[in-house]
Amino acid sequence: GGDGGASEETATPEAPAVEVDEELAALVPADIAEAGSVTIGVEASYPPGEYLDEDGETALGFNVDLVTAALGKLGLEAEWVPTAFDSIVIGVDTGTYDLGSSSFTVTEERMEQVNMISYFSSGTQWFAQTGNPQDVDPDNACGMRIAVQSDTTHDADIEARSEACVEAGEEAITIQKFENQPLATETVVSGVNDASLADMPTAVYALEQTGEGVLELIGEQYDAAPYGVLTHKEDTELAEAVAAAFNAIIEDGTYTEILGEWGVEAGVLETAEVNPEL
């Protein structure tokens, strides 16, 4: 591993203050407006999207800032509850959480179960050791050793690429699936695997954390897909309000400000939508 302590000290961006938009606030369901706050389930282990601060309690990240800003437009306080992934979806389903937000990629299958409000777009980004010593080419990775976080869209992506290799009569890709991205990244740093692919922001963050000159990006991001905030399937009212709030911060520039601070401008989305067409 590199000496990750180096970038430890980089100041985390301040979330900008937003003003309440009374018109939008009126869209919020009465009970929530009355409470004045929403609870949001978050799996805080996916920097820079969402992760825990050094106090071990506060959620940080660009997702956190975006959602907090949007809710600010609605005059709502955001209560972030760090939890495990399974618990977020179940919690939203049972009303334990009003929203779920954790770098969730929007898919058709998922939208059958919950409402998803798109607000950010992330593509897939490959990276390898500096200089790409194994000469990994994302479009022809046959026979390489590739690390990936399991159960992500990238997981499905690399599986498909491997199958294509086999069909083309070439060697399959050796895929190693890890429970989390840092572990996958670690194996690229140590040379156990040749490259990895991840969400673009995550890949950038990995580069920062592993230190200067250890890793580098390969190629451009591709297959951009939106991230979505979850609400209960029947909570369309709240979903619409949140979507409108996102559009409001896109409008007034808070949105780009936040993306800029976190260095993820590449993920900018034109408009937020409830259950967008993919």
Binding site: F85, D86, R110, Q113, R145, S150, D151, E179, S190
Partner: protein
């Protein structure tokens, strides 16, 4: 009405006074209404629970049934079962060796056994799974040769190294084998404690009798002490097996992702039908647990015949 009024006739008091009280004792057993109330409450609660299971939408039974038997899940069941069985078998053998070492009286063996137990009870299985799965990060190659050659060879003025051959660790351990190793090594430490308790519960007269017959230490352990320790060893071993069944989910950290729990979770996170998939996991684990418990019942009966009729008491000794 009986009336045993015959006088007590001097010192030879036990005068037979037959012909009375011949009815068999068919007493009304003590009533425990509180138990029946408790049972009724439990039954009602259970009924409400089952009713909830079938009426609560969260369970989404049709979806669950559709995916519970899909190919990758069924394959996962077999991986989980095989990993459980194999790691328990290795763990038990290791546990026996460690327990015997611990009780051997030999300070070297005792220390080694203690250290092993300490270390592997202390380190979480998850960490072991990660470590064994990623051993390549720690050692990129494993070399057979003389140790610390990089220190003493230069010091002796020698060049090169004292390694006879090297293996690339990326290919040494397949994920499954690495995971199995992590689970077995950890289980060995736990089994060692259980087996130690079992061995200590066997009367030492048994060992002496076997020694007096000219049996060697190993044979006494195998043929006399261990079988008698089984009675005490089986129930906690059942616990360990059932816990291991669930711990195979840690294989995902190795990473071995063809395992049952991972597969169910994968479906859950793909479709956001998390809860039905958790219930599916429960049903699968309950099924396998039931099979294991039946197995435990028969093994217990095999090693503890007295308890189930047949042989009377546990205490060796004449009728008393």
């Amino acid at each position: 009405m009986s009336s045993p009024t015959e006088p007590v006739s001097g010192p030879g008091s036990p005068n037979p006074t037959p012909g009375r009280s011949t009815e068999p004792v068919t007493a009304v057993p003590v009533r425990y209404p509180e138990r029946w109330v408790a049972a009724a409450v439990i039954l009602v609660l259970a009924a409400m629970f089952v009713h909830m299971l079938f009426t609560n939408d969260a369970f989404n039974w049709p979806f669950m049934l559709e995916h519970m038997f899909s190919d990758p899940v069924v394959r996962g069941v077999w991986v989980t079962i095989s990993a459980t069985v194999l790691s328990m078998l290795i763990g038990i053998v290791l546990g026996i060796v460690l327990a015997v070492m611990r009780l051997s009286g030999n300070p070297v063996l005792m220390a080694v056994s203690w250290l092993y137990t300490w270390f592997f009870r202390g380190v979480p299985r998850l960490v072991l799974a990660v470590l064994f799965g990623n051993i390549a990060i720690l050692y990129t190659t494993i070399a057979i040769g003389l140790p610390f050659d990089n220190y003493w060879m230069p010091w002796l003025g020698l060049e090169g190294d004292a390694r006879f051959f090297e293996i690339d660790t990326r290919t040494l351990l397949s994920g499954y084998v690495a995971g199995l190793l992590a689970l077995s090594l950890s289980e060995g430490a736990y089994m060692a404690e259980i087996i130690r308790a079992g061995l200590q519960s066997v009367d030492k007269g048994q060992t002496e009798a076997a020694q007096a017959l000219g049996m060697g230490r190993g044979r006494i352990m195998r043929r006399i002490t261990l079988p008698q320790a089984m009675r005490v060893v089986i129930p906690p071993t059942g616990n360990e097996t059932i816990a291991m069944l669930k711990d195979t989910a840690l294989l995902a950290y190795v990473p071995v992702t063809i395992e049952l729990f991972y597969q169910l979770q994968a479906i859950g996170s793909r479709t956001y039908q998390i809860f039905p998939m958790l219930v599916a996991a429960c049903l699968w684990y309950l099924t396998i647990t039931s099979v294991l418990m039946v197995g435990q019942y028969f093994i217990e009966r095999r090693f503890n015949p007295g308890q189930y009729g047949g042989i009377r008491g546990r205490i060796v000794g004449g009728a008393h």
